[in-house]
């Protein structure tokens, strides 16, 4: 049984140990988070002599209607990216996980190799792939021209609005698949072997085992992978900024690219960029809500 003064001492120590993190999280996360909502209703502009005014929903109307901002295109691109990259990358990663889960000699070497891109900085990845996509001289052109027997050649992958975004999607899949593979691998290793033994006894084919045992057992893992990759799709920035700056003709622009363009540098429209931040957050928040609804509560307070 603890005395009252010991309890008080505990109170003080606990708060001393918590204080640095709590203060920093408050100043650099909670305050700016709340500010984003407030600022999105103002016309605040950096380095502007004019006084800041409350403008209601003007910023929101503006980002959705002003064609020079072209925010809907950014939103559409983020959805498009999620729609293509999430299923492709998830199935690829699942296939890889099943493959590297086999008990074969040197299998660890392959696991390591597939994970290397994840440990590579995105800006580096973007720069390397820009040379791959270089035109007319570049690996991608050499490859495509060889496999099409010269029918398709000298494509300006990143300068052409119809190929630029797909090109960025490809390298994003290349960079991210290894991470998802590891998550799936952990999930696969958590499946009780007895389930497969029982399926074997019943004469199930490998495909039946995959559909009837593996997939249902990986339900939670798959939901997690799909949701986190979807959220990452909405955060898309680095590769687009480095490779194309969102161009050509906004074909690779994203919400975060628009946010940076509007809110920083010479424009400095903090109010307008905050409205973009709020829209961005609401989307990510809705996706997280879906995750918390679908997955068993693990973050319970004990």
């Amino acid at each position: 049984m603890e005395s009252k003064s010991a309890k008080q001492a505990d109170n003080i120590t606990a708060w001393l140990m918590s204080a640095p993190a709590v203060i920093l999280l408050t100043i650099f996360l909670i305050v700016p988070f709340l500010m984003a909502f407030g600022l999105s209703f103002t016309n605040l502009k950096l380095n502007s002599p004019l006084p800041t005014q409350i403008v209601g929903f003007d910023n929101y109307l503006r980002i959705f209607s002003d064609e020079t901002i072209n925010f809907p295109r950014a939103l559409l691109n983020n959805f498009l990216f999620a729609l293509v990259v999430v299923p492709v990358q998830t199935s690829l990663a699942l296939g890889m996980a099943i493959l590297v889960n086999r008990k074969l000699p040197f299998i660890n070497v392959f696991r390591t190799i597939y994970f290397v891109p994840v440990a590579t900085v995105m800006v580096v990845v973007a720069v390397i792939w820009s040379l791959i996509y270089n035109s007319p001289d570049g690996l991608m052109n050499a490859f495509v021209s060889t496999v099409t027997f010269g029918a398709i050649k000298e494509v300006a992958w990143l300068d052409n609005p119809s190929t630029a975004f797909a090109s960025i999607m490809l390298l994003s899949i290349w960079q991210g698949a290894g991470y998802q593979m590891l998550i799936f691998l952990a999930g696969l290793q958590g499946i009780p072997l007895e389930l497969y033994e029982a399926a074997d006894m019943d004469g199930a084919t490998p495909w039946q085992q995959f559909v009837k045992v593996t997939l249902p057992q990986l339900r939670n893992t798959t939901i997690f992978v799909v949701i986190t990759t979807t959220i990452l799709s909405f955060q898309l920035f680095d590769q687009n900024w480095v490779m194309t700056r969102g161009g050509p003709q906004d074909s690779t622009t994203t919400m975060v690219v628009k946010m940076v363009e509007q809110g920083t540098g010479s424009l400095g429209w903090i109010g307008r960029a905050s409205a973009i931040s709020v829209v961005f957050f609401l989307i990510v928040f809705s996706i997280s809500l879906i995750q918390r609804k679908l997955l068993p509560e693990e973050r319970a307070v004990n």
């Binding site: 696991r111 570049g138 999930g187 992978v225 997280s288």
Partner: protein, 301 residues
């Protein structure tokens, strides 16, 4: 019967290796390409007429991109150091490298201390406000940095953090997800050791420092690796906040070098080799922790 089964198994294994190798090629060819291009002695920008430079772009256009040519060397690395030094009016390369190292090291080290002590308090101690703090941590995990970046820029102006080392470091020390990883680990530790020490009159802070920390190597390594990866590659915030080239971090310097025309591909590749080699080496040495951190950032089961 038995024979056909083992034949089938053999064929299955051969097929597996074929796919494994094809995937291995897919995931490594860009990096092999980067290293090869970086170590080829030529540069398309400096003199377009020289044969060796034409050779580089010819190599880029075929399978020779992946094999050494007869003129390998470190010329392009010298070019990078020659370009990035004070005499040529640029920030020296070592300074850019130092900026990244300093910023990331401080974030990771202070982050480990600040986040783990907070996590220990909410995991183990009973105090006023505890459950509110736990709820807070769990709910702010889902707020991505991108959602607060713009107000943070305004805040950085007001607090004088704009365009400075402090501005690159301080906002990233406390990290809700790191706190959560520590919290999960501490909650699962057996209480007996700590209770014995408590009865012996040790203070809470001593218990945390002398008993809990030595047991917590794995979670510290995991959090350190996660934060290192995220911060070493951080581009968004430096793009938003930095104007002074002397403070540029590797990703920002790389992006701005990459954006200069005409593109000196060879030099750019030498730069990327130098920027990414530290992370690749760390990865090879601490593979286990990279893998563990990737998995622990996922769900269990």
């Amino acid at each position: 019967m038995k024979d056909s089964l083992s034949t089938r198994k053999l064929i299955g294994n051969i097929a597996s290796y074929a796919v494994l190798l094809a995937l291995a090629f897919f995931f490594t060819f860009p990096l092999v390409f980067m290293f090869m291009t970086a170590f080829k002695n030529n540069d398309i920008g400096s003199d377009p007429e020289a044969p060796s430079e034409i050779q580089l772009m010819r190599d880029v256009n075929s399978a020779s991109a992946f094999v050494p040519n007869n003129n390998m060397g470190v010329d392009q690395f010298k070019d990078v150091f020659g370009r990035f030094n004070e005499e040529s009016g640029n920030t020296p390369f070592w300074r850019i490298f130092f900026n990244s190292s300093l910023v990331v090291a401080i974030i990771v080290i202070l982050g480990l201390i600040v986040n783990s002590s907070f996590a220990y308090a909410i995991a183990r101690m009973r105090f006023w406000g505890r459950s509110a703090l736990i709820t807070l941590v769990v709910s702010i995990i889902i707020v991505p940095f991108q959602a607060v970046a713009i107000p943070m820029l305004l805040l950085a102006y007001k607090l004088g953090l704009q365009n400075s080392y402090q501005g690159l470091i301080i906002p990233f020390i406390a990290h809700a997800f790191s706190v959560y990883l520590f919290y999960q680990f501490f909650v699962a530790l057996p209480k007996e050791l700590e209770e014995a020490a408590f009865v012996d009159g040790a203070t809470r802070f001593r218990i945390y420092w002398n008993i809990v920390l030595p047991l917590s190597g794995p979670v510290f390594a995991t959090v350190a690796v996660l934060q290192f990866l995220a911060q070493w590659g951080n581009l968004l915030w430096p793009v938003m906040t930095l104007q002074d080239p002397k403070l540029f971090t590797l990703p920002l310097a790389m992006q701005s070098f990459f954006g200069q025309a005409p593109r000196q591909w060879g030099d750019i590749m030498a730069f990327t080799v130098m920027a990414t080699t530290p992370t690749l080496l760390l990865f090879l040495f601490f593979q286990r922790w990279f893998v563990r951190s990737a998995v622990s950032s996922g769900v269990k089961g």
